[in-house]
Subunit: 242 residues, 2 copies
């Protein structure tokens, strides 16, 4: 049985999970982790597939195991705003609430590990360490959201695009565990279409496109293709991002 523990027994899925220590699950060990394992259901999600929708009841929560998840909200008349990107050890969904607070879809091919909401909440109640991890995670999401509010409210198109590229660079460096040698150009992937980038930055596709070509002309970035770019000098990008 994969949920038994002890020398010689088979390891459970949670125990061998690649993000075990980074994600909220990191709070649990032994029999506690086994309990989580019982309700965890891994799932592959292809790029473009929706994971959860606002309007829908919040039936499950999830960890992002790999890939990128795009969170968005839409105004009645169709205007859209991307309100966040979730990367590898991030947590997805809304605990203690009956409806999802946003629309979530896979930006690139991704893997998530989902939990039925009610059962996960029961575990939160039972294991304060788990709830603590979730709190820490929520707090840092709140910090990021507020940082983004400054961008949306006060930055120019140029600064917005630069900030976005910088964000990707930072996240890629973390999750990829990639160390750049001085002088080495780091290469990054754009997990979003121009349209989604625009919706993330509160701009239009055209403006995003123009600003990207402008950064390219200024040799701040190089485009290897529409979805990959390199940054010769991160500090210069940082300056422009403000």
């Amino acid at each position: 049985m994969s949920m038994e523990l002890g020398i010689g027994t088979k390891l459970s899925r949670c125990e061998t999970c690649s993000i075990r220590h980074q994600a909220v699950c990191g709070a649990l060990t032994g029999p506690e982790l086994a309990r989580l394992n019982q309700i965890a259901k891994p799932r592959k999600v292809a790029a473009g597939q929706t994971i959860m929708s606002d309007e829908d009841p919040a039936t499950f929560l999830a960890n992002v195991v790999s890939g990128v998840v795009k969170l968005s909200k839409t105004l009645p008349d169709g205007r859209q705003q991307v309100i966040g990107l979730l990367f590898s050890p991030d947590f997805l969904g809304r605990v203690f609430n009956e409806t999802n607070p946003y629309f979530a879809e896979a930006a690139v091919d991704s893997e998530i590990c989902s939990f039925p909401r009610k059962q996960f909440e029961a575990l939160l109640d039972e294991f304060p360490g788990l709830e603590h991890r979730l709190l820490e995670h929520t707090l840092s999401e709140l910090d990021s959201a507020r940082e983004w509010m400054v961008l949306l409210g006060r930055k120019t198109a140029q600064e917005k695009v630069a900030s976005f590229l910088l964000l990707l660079a930072n996240r890629s460096l973390i999750t990829g565990c990639h160390h750049i040698q001085p002088g080495e150009e780091a290469s990054f992937e754009l997990p979003l279409s121009r349209n989604d980038i625009a919706d993330y930055l509160g701009l239009t596709v055209e403006t995003v496109s123009r600003q990207i070509t402008r950064l390219k002309s200024a040799n701040v970035i190089n485009l290897v293709d529409n979805r990959h770019f390199t940054v010769p000098d991160l500090d210069r990008l940082r300056d422009i991002a403000g």
Copy 2:
């Protein structure tokens, strides 16, 4: 001793606190509440006074007991963004972090009840119920922040101003426990200067001023003075807010 309990003893400050059940403290009773009471320090803050600054180390946290607290962030070149308003039972400050994530100042004369951060964190660790309350609070702050991102990124000046007035109306109705009779005009207070409103909405003072007079001309709102307005028909305001 005010921290002892039992029939006939004097009630502690926390026990008689007006927001005791609404704030995070609501999780505690009896000896637990007494522990919180030991580290709680109430404080009056005059309008305009700063409460905490980013850059400063996060030495304390607080509950907003009365009044309104303005949270903001400033770009190196001085551009400012108000990233949130805190009302009566809201929680102020950043647990588990060495520096404050924002600049906080009293928007109007306010009272807060502060706790040394380290000691409060120790209580969180000791009383899971307290941490749970804080999590719930943080989650709903995150929801609001994301809602505001839609406003900042996608709404027009007109919609922004209308949304802001609507927000005030909603918060006033909650905290004031005020029930509007059908046909009765509800009256609200603007806790922010035009300048701060602009910084909250990602606009300039001039645009805010123009949009307010526009709403006034359309009879959506009435200004009794610069800091007070009434709304004859909240649904109309809601329509304009989008």
